[in-house]
């Protein structure tokens, strides 16, 4: 337990004092939130309806998809995990503790968004705060696991950016953050079911705001939970201690199994 606390405390502090991680955990998502609150609410007043959950999901994506995977790859490339292995740091800790740290930072920033969206920008407050907190926590944990998996499967610092953006950019465009799924073209709407952000938004809408969602909010909760668990299990299984060591337990393409719940939901939504 002492090792876990010491390790977590170090990772958490790093999330604040490392300039890149500070940027992805707080400065970029909260700065974007303020800009969006100032501009989008004027251009599109309807944005206020989904502003709080959308910006919470954005904060989570920034911390877990943009902030988490890069340092995992850089540490592996620098031989830091070799040092950890020699000293008995388990692979599960190497992955889960930075992921948990990113999740905690995301929850702190999410709390700032949730509590200020209404008073600062007229964002609509949730009708069920407990459900709002629960969905926020689930989305953060699920995305944290997915971020760890991206960090494991990316072979180098260049590819990690590509993989992260493969989740982040579509989430912004068709994940229900900047516009509701109902305004998307009918052919595109089901594809959004491949994105954790879209499921998080449907869960918020159905459970925290008590409104009709594009698909069952409980389906969304199930997909986020299953996707997170599978991603974490795959990340630990595929984890490689050393960039120079060719021995690994499975092909990186196995990581695609983490998409299974999302693909299944796509079939249900499209059907």
């Amino acid at each position: 337990m002492s090792a876990f606390i010491t390790h977590f405390a170090f990772e958490f502090r790093t999330g604040l004092r490392n300039s890149t991680q500070l940027m992805m955990n707080y400065l970029f998502p909260l700065g974007f939130y303020v800009m969006t609150g100032l501009v989008m609410t004027q251009v599109n007043p309807g944005f206020r309806e989904t502003m709080a959950p959308a910006m919470v999901v954005f904060v989570i994506l920034a911390a877990t998809m943009l902030g988490l995977p890069g340092p995992l790859v850089e540490s592996r490339e620098a031989g830091i995990y070799r040092s950890f292995k020699i000293n008995g740091v388990p692979a599960a800790s190497i992955l889960s503790i930075p992921a948990l740290s990113a999740v905690i930072h995301a929850l702190i920033a999410s709390t700032v968004v949730a509590l200020t969206a209404a008073p600062l920008f007229g964002g609509r407050a949730p009708t069920n705060w407990l459900a709002f907190a629960g969905v926020t926590l689930l989305a953060a944990l699920s995305c944290g696991a997915l971020g760890a998996l991206i960090g494991v499967m990316a072979s180098n610092s260049r590819s990690v950016v590509l993989y992260s953006q493969l989740v982040f950019l579509p989430s912004m465009l068709i994940g229900g953050l900047m516009m509701p799924l109902t305004v998307l073209p009918a052919g595109v709407r089901p594809i959004s079911a491949l994105l954790p952000s879209a499921h998080a938004m449907q869960a918020f809408q159905g459970l925290a705001y008590g409104e009709a969602a594009a698909w069952s909010p409980w389906l969304a909760v199930g997909v986020l939970a299953a996707g997170g668990l599978i991603a974490l299990a795959l990340a630990i299984y595929l984890f490689n201690w050393d960039s120079n060591n060719a021995t690994r337990r499975g092909h990186p393409l196995l990581a695609l199994l983490a998409l299974a719940p999302y693909v299944a939901s796509l079939a249900l939504v499209a059907g």
């Binding site: 002492s2 170090f10 790093t14 292995k85 020699i86 050393d242």
Partner: protein
């Protein structure tokens, strides 16, 4: 202190078609420093990495105090201390945090005293990336020995260190040895290996080509002793005198230099010659062959 700590028996490591380590055998006892020497690519690092449990061998047997590193990596952790390579810690981690971090995973109390002793007292809260190479190496050694492991693996521990830090590290290594720790020292620094090692193995192309105490290894070579003589009138240089047991001779900076297979009769003959020719001795130096010369002889010749 004769208990065997590390056994390497017929050990082989391959990378594809390339054989990095080719059936080597050696033992390291508790309370000794064992030098592992060899040019780049000789197989030192591969051997160490397999002993550390980072890589698996392809043949033979490794044993660290009864533990097979590949099969029982968790049991190995508290038995070995490994000096991490430069860059092996997170850039933002301070020495204080690193000590707490690794001590926690080894379930021991952090050793702030080691950081002080190794000259890191003023840098305990400085991020790793801001430490000099020498400070990073000293931190690596402090972390390697903080949990008091019975076996310590050191890879170029003093490279890039100033004279004072180097002496402190050597003192610490000697202290560990005297306390019964087995140390394996992989180094390119022949003077360090000769000074610190109780026994040495020289690796060349994956095989051990020489093994023994530094004295035994140097004695096993051509073994020519260098005798340098400078006199007031320089007669030895002018005459081209050749004393007994001398294999070859040279001249450098007013010194007549003789490479002798048996220095005693050579020196005696030189002194007698000076007395006979009424020349006065200014300087006489007798230098036995160094480990470095023997190492070069082996690595250039390819055999012991």
């Amino acid at each position: 202190m004769n208990e065997t700590a590390v056994t390497v028996q017929g050990f082989t490591k391959r990378y594809g078609a390339f054989t990095a380590v080719d059936g080597i055998s050696l033992t390291v006892r508790r309370g000794e420093i064992f030098g592992l020497l060899g040019p780049n690519g000789a197989g030192k690092t591969s051997t160490l990495e397999c002993l550390e449990g980072i890589r698996r061998g392809d043949g033979g047997r490794l044993d660290v105090l009864g533990v097979d590193p590949a099969r029982h990596p968790r049991r190995l952790r508290d038995l070995i201390g490994v000096q991490l390579q430069v860059g092996g810690l997170p850039a933002d981690m301070t020495p204080r945090e690193a000590m707490r971090f690794f001590a926690a995973y080894h379930d021991v109390a952090p050793r702030g005293d080691l950081l002080q002793r190794l000259g890191l007292g003023a840098k305990v809260d400085t991020p790793y990336r801001q430490l000099s190479t020498g400070q990073q190496r000293r931190l690596a050694l402090a972390l390697a020995v903080a949990h008091q492991p019975p076996v310590v693996l050191l890879d170029e521990p003093t490279a890039g260190l100033d004279v004072e830090s180097r002496a402190e590290l050597h003192a610490l290594m000697a202290e560990l040895r005297d306390a019964g720790t087995a140390l394996i020292l992989a180094t390119h620094d022949m003077a360090e290996a000769e000074k610190m090692s109780d026994r040495i193995a020289i690796l060349l192309r994956g095989k051990i080509v020489a093994e023994g105490t530094p004295r035994e290894i140097t004695a096993a070579g051509a073994g020519l002793t260098k005798v340098s003589v400078r006199t007031e009138r320089g007669l030895l240089l002018a005459e081209g005198y050749e004393p007994p047991a001398v294999v070859s001779r040279a001249a450098q900076d007013e010194y007549a230099i003789y490479f002798s297979a048996d220095p005693a009769p050579t020196v005696a003959a030189l002194l007698a010659r000076l007395k006979e020719r009424d020349d006065r001795l200014i300087d006489l130096r007798v230098e036995r062959p160094s480990l470095e010369e023997r190492f070069l002889e082996i690595t250039n010749g390819g055999a012991a």
